[in-house]
Point group: C2
Chain length 186, copies 2
């Protein structure tokens, strides 16, 4: 037996899957245990803070993905439309072509303010701001840039909801293809 039964990366992958499929309250330790192949006690060894810490670790990693694969390319070199197409490709991969739900959706239910909700809010806020910045760089007015960035996020999030409900990833994928137009339209 190896020192660790499941590597950190794969463990976080599976945790991510459970949380975005079932939400925080629906992600019971039984489901997590089954999905990861680790018993309860082993999970607590890795995450002494329990379920809350697992969710935070998942969000932290998603935040890194957002920074490295979305925000960085968006503020990198290249034509604005190309940067957005690059992001769309990363989103296509991350969301399994629309088959996976977004943590920003699944982990935002319940009204009590928490570290998790703050983390989710920061992620979405940074995303909107990065999109608006690209639009401004492409010559869109600040006000319109902000609105079009919001529209893009709405279309993406709503597209994922539709995919989950209707079992149809078409709208989400079409939104990915239209992102440059939605964000840069002048």
């Amino acid at each position: 037996m190896p020192i660790t039964k499941v590597k950190d990366e794969e463990l976080l992958d599976r945790l991510t899957d459970v949380f975005r499929t079932h939400g925080f309250e629906g992600a019971s330790l039984s489901r997590i245990s089954e999905a990861t192949g680790l018993q309860r006690a082993s999970l607590y060894h890795r995450f002494p803070g329990g379920k809350e810490e697992m969710a935070q670790a998942v969000l932290e990693r998603a935040g890194q993905w957002l920074g490295n694969r979305v925000l960085a390319p968006l503020s990198g070199p290249g034509k604005p439309a190309d940067r957005i197409r690059k992001m769309a490709h990363e989103l296509h991969l991350f969301y399994g072509g629309g088959k996976h739900s977004c943590l920003l959706d699944s982990l935002s239910f319940g009204f009590e303010e928490s570290t998790i909700k703050r983390h989710v809010r920061e992620g979405m806020g940074a995303w909107v701001e990065a999109l608006a910045k690209v639009a401004r760089e492409a010559g869109v007015s600040p006000k319109k840039a902000r609105q079009q960035a919001q529209d893009a996020i709405s279309l993406l999030q709503g597209g994922l909801v539709m995919a989950r409900v209707l079992n149809d990833t078409g709208p989400f994928e079409r939104t990915l293809a239209n992102l440059p137009h939605v964000i840069l339209n002048n």
Copy 2:
């Protein structure tokens, strides 16, 4: 003491609130009991099928609202743009200006196929189809009508997600105002 402590309508109102705020798994009987003012046993007297039946009753009522306040006006008399504005007004009321989440979102987590998920799917499907029909009546090509209907639902659902996460109902309300353009654009 009146025969019933809480009237059916108000009971369903409060149940709706709990389910769309916390999702199905997060809507514990403790929360439901607190929100409705009824003890567990009283809830089971009204809904012998338990939590599942409560959620179904909530969805059934939401389906009636959808039919009476959204689908009916959409297929009624009047100019297409006016019908859509009428719907937008009803949506504004139903979602508390964006402060309330949508049941189609909150009750669609978890992958196991269920009566609830089927109910949710039918609701969203009928909504998309009704919007596409209005667009076609306004002269939009069938293909474009379908896409613009999907975009409208995506924008609405995503706007509600954004509102919940960012605590900002602006994008949702702006989408409501833009609905005629989104759906009827030729």
